[in-house]
Subunit: 139 residues, 4 copies
């Protein structure tokens, strides 16, 4: 199983800005979530409400301000190790452009766990992937 | 200089909920920001647009889901050390109530830096506090 | 069947403000939605995902700016007439306080229709009320 | 003076969706605001914080649900008449695509007034346009 890094170009909206004209720190999490949805779509995975990913922990470093211009969101699943059987760790970054050159504005690590929404129990990453794979599914 | 822990009761709004009826992970950052504003107000500090606090890093642990019920946001400035002359570290938590008993739903560490909004330079926590102290100000 | 006007005190959050320090026009709709949820709760009605209310039309007059202070949201179901068998019309207002005196900052009319979420068909206000009444329900 | 209709393709984000997977009615106002910013940019107008447009009234008809797919936002300044010397009326629509064909999901009328942010007085549309025209400005 191998998943490549996925990059999404995203429009910044006027409503995302705070009083200084910068994207608010909470809105940055919405951008990262949009990046993860795009990552799922790119890998042909679909959330089917049976096993759902839930954010368990985030670490975000805000390095540069984001203004009203398109950004690039990079999303990558980190290599699993034995401790992460029941979790997935994503590395994400948001890039802005300064005179045409990309600059990392935000760098983040997101830890997800997988919940069976009917039984309310933890599931493994493998079970989530199996349940979400569009190729194997009639839905 | 000593700042006590400040607790704020906050209303959860229907628009804060995701498709499972839980408060979204990005919205949790808005709650924490509301808690820090309340902390400032409680300590008679006011952001005057000269020296503004900017979020540099967040770490958030999501332990329990938050539903459509009031929550308590606790905000505390951590003791400064020599490395944090140019930053402030807040510890924050969000409590929910399960059959009347408080439960920690979210625990977070927020690192702030202080920017002179006209000169675009870093300032110390002390300079921010001096500039924001209502008691010394006509504004 | 008679439904009284319901008033809710709501906290304004820092994240609700635009660059001028005023509550954004889109956020005002979130306040109104919060008011309608409170209206439902006050009248012991609960949305059960079978028949759901959907906003079909809004008219909002923005008369005064709302700043970072509590507001009052008033919500009232307008008397039904024969044209409104398949819709409900709410009148809502948001009040702010100027030197202790209430002032109407926002006045709105909201038209709702009721959709059967499984059959995707229109339902009447009466059917929604019957399906949502907590007193008649085990759920 | 003539201003043409401007169309913007906008990405819908996962966070815009409510519990039924549809774009929330308040979020639709953010889309419309994004469309009006794009209209300003297209016509080489820039908000310079001296004379600012403020939403005075909105009328929105929600005709179709919007799901997690790109939409088109159309924005058009309606012909001024003598009553609108101190206001501007925008007609806006949001289009979705059903099997490749555009469908109007939202239709709206937005009334703006223009406020001198220092003097707190009403200004005319002409004064706003003169103050915001990039071609005449060094800024």
């Amino acid at each position: 199983m191998s998943f490549e890094l996925v990059s999404l170009r995203l429009q910044v909206r006027p409503n995302d800005l705070d009083s200084l004209g910068h994207v608010n720190n909470a809105t940055v999490l919405e951008y990262l979530e949009t990046g993860r949805w795009d990552w799922l779509k790119h890998h042909n995975l679909q959330i089917k409400q049976k096993i759902v990913p839930v954010v368990a922990r985030i670490e975000v470093n805000y390095r540069k301000v984001i203004i009203l211009e398109d950004v690039i969101i990079n999303t990558k699943l980190e290599a699993a190790n034995k401790t992460s059987l029941y979790q997935a760790n994503f590395w994400q970054s948001i890039e802005i452009f300064k005179e045409g050159n990309p600059l990392v504005a935000v760098e983040a690590r997101i830890q997800l766990v997988f919940i069976d929404s009917t039984e309310r129990t933890l599931r493994t990453l493998q079970e989530f992937l199996a349940a979400s794979n569009n190729s194997n599914s009639i839905n």
